[in-house]
């Protein structure tokens, strides 16, 4: 007989001691030195809940003195988030065993048919299967987080009816609608000004959208087809560029102003200055002014002014 030498830690919640000893016996037949923790009541398990995650599997009797049935299964599943729960049942409440599976239990075992082989198989099978379930849950959580916490607003809409199927938090924030206000409404609530909405898959297009307060925003939008709950859907990623466009316009306006200033510098301001320098040249050449000190200062000041203006003109031309 082959005995599994791996280390197994098992919780058994069972108030019938006879049933418990039998189960412990079966476990020991196939597994070498298993660590078995036994509770007779739900309250005992509940007091132990911080340590439950260190165990591999829970066997749960469906009727305990302090809790039973649906309530018991639900409470235990809350405690055992990351390990499988296998319910133990007799023929009499077999139908409830199926309900327990529907609630999230991993498996059921009929006490009357229990033997070491079925028990061992159940342990190994449920532990391994639950590892995969956890992976899927983690991956699901990751995708939900990626969608919900994405800083970019994202819509999921029905490909046929254009009804909004899902929106993320960034979407609610940008468009100022609550999720409930958008779900099952047409995407045209927001894409009010757009006639042909879905021609352009997988390319980025610029659209005008409307927020709840009727304010218009300009966005860059990307569409992609996905399958959502077995139906063809469209995922729309929206990127608000209203502010960027406003900034661009502002910069363009400032550039225009700068050009105007450059023109004023090179024509209007320079005109009287060139007159002054022209007059000074004549004065210098004809000795019309005899006080050389005054004349030198005047020449110097005009030269400085001319250099400053030339510098400004040069700078505005460069930009």
């Amino acid at each position: 007989m082959i005995v599994d030498e791996k280390k197994y830690s098992i919780i058994v919640v069972e108030d019938n001691l006879g049933d418990f000893f039998l189960l412990e016996e079966y476990v020991s037949e196939k597994i070498k030195n298993p660590s078995v923790k036994h509770f007779e009541r739900f309250s005992e398990l509940n007091a132990f809940k911080e340590d439950v995650e260190n165990y591999d599997i829970i066997f749960l009797d469906l009727s305990l003195p302090d809790k039973s049935g649906t309530e018991l299964v639900e409470e235990v599943l809350k405690i055992a988030k990351n390990i499988p729960v296998v319910v133990l049942t007799g023929y009499t409440d077999f139908s409830f065993a199926l309900k327990a599976i529907a609630l999230g239990a991993s498996d059921y075992l009929l006490k009357d048919e229990l033997n070491s082989i079925t028990l061992y198989k159940s342990i190994v099978y449920n532990i391994e299967r639950f590892k995969n379930i956890i992976k899927i849950k983690e991956s699901e959580q990751l995708y939900t987080d990626l969608f919900q916490l994405s800083p970019q607003p994202i819509f999921v809409i029905d490909a046929e009816t254009f009804q909004i199927l899902d929106v993320n938090q960034a979407c609610e924030k940008l468009y100022e609608f609550k999720k409930e206000e958008l779900l099952n409404n047409s995407i045209k609530t927001i894409f009010r000004d757009e006639e042909s909405i879905f021609d352009n898959h997988e390319t980025i297009i610029t659209q005008t959208h409307q927020k709840k307060n009727k304010e218009k925003i300009i966005t860059e939008v990307k569409y992609n087809k996905i399958i959502h709950n077995n139906k063809e859907a469209i995922i729309i990623v929206s990127n608000d560029i209203t502010k960027s466009i406003e900034h661009l316009k502002e910069i363009e306006n400032q550039n225009e102003k700068l050009k105007d200033i450059a023109w004023i510098q090179s024509h209007i301001v320079r005109a009287p200055l060139t007159n002054i320098t022209g007059l000074l040249k004549i004065i210098n050449e004809t000795n019309a002014v005899t006080d050389n000190e005054l004349l030198n200062y005047l020449n110097q000041s005009v030269l400085e002014l001319e250099n400053s203006i030339n510098e400004i003109v040069e700078k505005t031309h460069k930009s």
């Binding site: 023109w263 024509h267 005109a271 007159n275 022209g278 004549i282």
Partner: protein, 128 residues
């Protein structure tokens, strides 16, 4: 051959400075001044003769008709053989300088204030 000197400029001080400088380099010809391109154009339309010689100092920015418009107007009837045009402007805008190269009738692009040495050369070139 009769020689004429025109100054086309809306700024009287600028005209005075150029006249004074022409005087300093001893240009003897009579100098006619116009305060905008239109007045100069009207005068030329009436008085232009191919056997006479014209030296024109032209400003760019003027009311009524600016330097560029004036040049476009006279292209049709004025020939470079007897007409020499000096663009004289206070602008140091590079675009103006580039634009000037597109007018073959412009002999030279000059920046204000004009200096005596350049005027001496102009005097010799045109035998004023």
């Amino acid at each position: 051959m009769k020689k004429q000197v025109f100054i086309i400029d809306d700024d009287p001080i600028s005209i005075m400075i150029l006249k004074k400088n022409l005087e300093l380099v001893e240009v003897a010809q009579k100098i006619t001044t116009f305060s905008n391109g239109k007045d100069a154009l009207n005068h030329l339309k009436k008085e232009y003769k191919t056997e006479e010689n014209y030296t024109i100092f032209l400003d760019i920015n003027m009311p009524e008709m600016n330097g560029w418009e004036f040049l476009n107007e006279i292209k049709s009837f004025v020939t470079p053989q007897n007409t020499t045009i000096y663009l004289l402007t206070s602008s140091i805008n590079k675009l103006d300088k580039e634009k000037a190269t597109k007018f073959p009738i412009i002999n030279q692009y000059l920046s204000k204030p004009i200096c005596k040495e350049i005027l001496k050369n102009i005097k010799e070139e045109n035998k004023l």
